[in-house]
Each structure stands twice: as structure tokens, then as C-alpha cells.
């Protein structure tokens, strides 16, 4: 039950099945390790807080790797690899339309929308989970949904 929702959340954020497998494994291992810190309350909120942290850890690691790679390329005076992004023109064939258009949103807005969809938490809970004011979360959601709808219908 939770595995499917968490996998969907990771997949919609990364567009990569293998990576989603890894993140899902990481999530359930962390759940076992951190089960002692669960103080009751909404389990989904706790679960998706950890899922969100794992995704952000992954993003930070990816940024570090990209910086290292760019530095290495600069050393070797190579051209940037345009096929690196998983959402490149070549990759789009493998992905559904929703995934492609989600890739055009910024990572933060994409996560907010997917968190709402897969966690099924209330906006108040989502704002708390993301440690941001409710008004800010709703404002980002408003802009993100509008843009995604335009992209999907355009």
C-alpha cells in the first residue's frame, strides 16, 4: 500500500525507475532504523517527511556529483554532455506526457504537487512537513498547478 504510493512519488520526481527503486529501498530501511522516533500521529506525515528528506539528500548528492563532473570536464576541456539529463529530448520517448511536463516545473513545485497527490495529506500537514508557512505552500501550489495545467493542455 505505502510502497506503491512512495514509489509513485519518487518516480514522478525523478522520472527514473531504477533510481526510484533505490530511493524506495532507502526509505524503508530508514523507516526501520527510525521507527523508535515515531511518536504517533499521522503515519503518512512521518513517512513522507522521511521520503522528502531522502529525495532532497539525493538532489544534494546529484548536485555535488554534477559539480565534480563539470570540474572534471573543464579540466579535460570537453563539451558539456547534453544527453545527461534524463528529461532530454531523447529520453522523453520513454516517459509519459505527465512526466515530461512535470520535468518542466521547478523541483520544489513538482515535489509540492506530488506530495499532495501521493501522500494524501492535508495542505496544513504538507506545509508543516516542508517547514514553510501555509500561505507560501498554497501560493506555490496555485502557480504550479496553473503552469502544469497549461503545459498539459497546451
Amino acid at each position: 500500500m505505502y510502497a506503491g504510493r512512495c514509489y509513485g512519488y519518487f518516480y514522478r520526481l525523478t522520472g527514473d525507475r531504477d533510481l526510484s527503486d533505490e530511493l524506495l529501498s532507502e526509505l524503508f530501511i530508514r523507516l526501520v532504523e527510525k521507527i523508535g522516533s515515531y511518536k504517533g500521529g499521522a503515519f503518512e506525515s512521518w513517512l513522507f517527511k522521511i521520503a522528502s528528506n531522502i529525495f532532497h539528500d539525493h538532489l544534494r548528492g546529484k548536485q555535488r556529483r554534477r559539480k565534480l563532473l563539470d570540474a572534471r570536464r573543464a579540466e579535460l576541456e570537453l563539451e558539456p554532455d547534453l544527453n545527461e539529463s534524463r528529461l532530454s529530448d531523447d529520453g522523453e520517448e520513454r516517459l509519459d506526457k505527465l512526466q515530461v511536463q512535470l520535468g518542466r516545473l521547478d523541483a520544489d513545485t513538482r515535489e509540492l504537487i506530488m506530495l499532495r497527490f501521493y501522500s494524501e495529506l492535508s495542505f496544513k500537514e504538507i506545509a508543516e512537513l516542508r517547514s514553510e508557512p501555509l500561505g507560501t505552500a498554497l501560493s506555490k501550489l496555485h502557480r504550479g498547478l496553473k503552469k502544469l495545467r497549461e503545459l498539459m493542455e497546451g
Binding site: 514509489y7 501555509l134 501560493s139
Partner: protein, 172 residues
């Protein structure tokens, strides 16, 4: 899965109106509903059975490892507690010669201990010494038969004092 559904504890229309004007609040609700349908029409893939099986194995191994860590931690704590108790018992059971010296607070002023002649240096001692000397003198008088004169004199003085007190008392 019911996508983008509004959980029972979230009155979305009311919530949006707290932060937005009427028009954007309504637009957001419409967008939310439209995106909900889109997301439902593009279901995300589900994890492979093999992936789930691997995850279960990893979870069991992690749980086992966690329990082992907790056991080790508890054993270490128990060992530490046993060592502390042993050390405390060993210290408590030492012979008096090995016990640490205990310092007591003095009830007499330090000056009295440091003085070569406390009877002269301490005012209290001086007072008591004079009292003792007086008693000694009285004892000597008793021995030499001088009591009558001294005693009579003392009695006369007491009578006078009593009279004076009585007079003062009745005067109010």
C-alpha cells in the same frame, strides 16, 4: 488511488479564501481538480515484485542489525553499571587507614585555637575566668569564716533592691 482528493480535515475552499481573493481561490480549485484528473489518467508505474522482495529482505536484515545494536548497547550499559557499583563497593569497604580524611567545621573561633593564652584573648573566656575567680574567693571566705559579714552585706543589698522594685511596681 483517489488522486488529489481533499481529505476530510481540509476544507479547501475555505482554506484558499484565507490566503487568496475569491477569483484566484476558485481558479486554484479548478486547476487542482483538472490536474487531479490528469494525474489519474497517467498512473505512475508500480515497483517490481523483485524490488519489493529485496526491500523486505533489507528491512528484515536492518531490523535484525538494529536489535543487535540495541542488545550490545544494553549489555555495555549493564557492564558499565556493574563496574561503577564494584568501584563504589570497593571504595566504601576500605580500611580506616585508606579512607580519605574528613574535615569537620569548628564551633570555636579560629582565634581561640591560635591564641597562646585563650583566657586572656577571648572576651568570653575573660568573663568566665573572672566568675570562677569570684567563686573561688567566696569559697575561700567560707573556709575562713568570713561568710557572715559578706553574706549579711549581700542580704542587705537584696532587701534594698526588692524594696525599690516593689515601689516601682506600685507606681505603675
Amino acid at each position: 488511488m483517489t488522486a488529489m482528493r481533499d481529505p476530510a480535515h481540509d476544507n479547501l475552499a475555505e482554506l484558499l479564501r484565507q490566503f487568496m481573493d475569491e477569483s484566484p481561490a476558485r481558479a486554484t480549485q479548478e486547476d487542482l481538480s483538472a490536474v487531479e484528473q490528469m494525474v489519474e489518467s497517467y498512473p505512475a508505474p508500480v515497483p517490481a515484485v523483485r524490488t519489493l522482495s529485496t526491500i523486505k529482505t533489507l528491512m528484515v536484515a536492518t531490523a535484525h542489525h538494529r536489535r543487535r545494536r540495541i542488545r550490545i548497547f544494553h549489555s555495555a550499559m549493564a557492564a558499565a553499571a556493574a563496574i561503577i557499583v564494584t568501584v563504589l563497593i570497593a571504595q566504601h569497604g576500605r580500611s580506616p587507614a585508606h579512607r580519605p580524611s574528613v574535615t569537620f567545621a569548628s564551633i570555636l573561633p579560629a582565634a581561640a585555637w591560635e591564641s597562646d593564652n585563650p583566657a586572656a584573648d577571648d572576651p568570653d573566656f575573660v568573663y568566665f575566668t573572672s566568675e570562677i575567680r569570684q567563686i573561688e574567693a567566696q569559697m575561700r571566705d567560707l573556709e575562713t569564716g568570713d561568710t557572715e559579714i559578706r553574706g549579711k552585706k549581700t542580704l542587705d543589698e537584696l532587701e534594698l533592691e526588692l524594696l525599690a522594685m516593689e515601689t516601682e511596681f506600685w507606681k505603675g
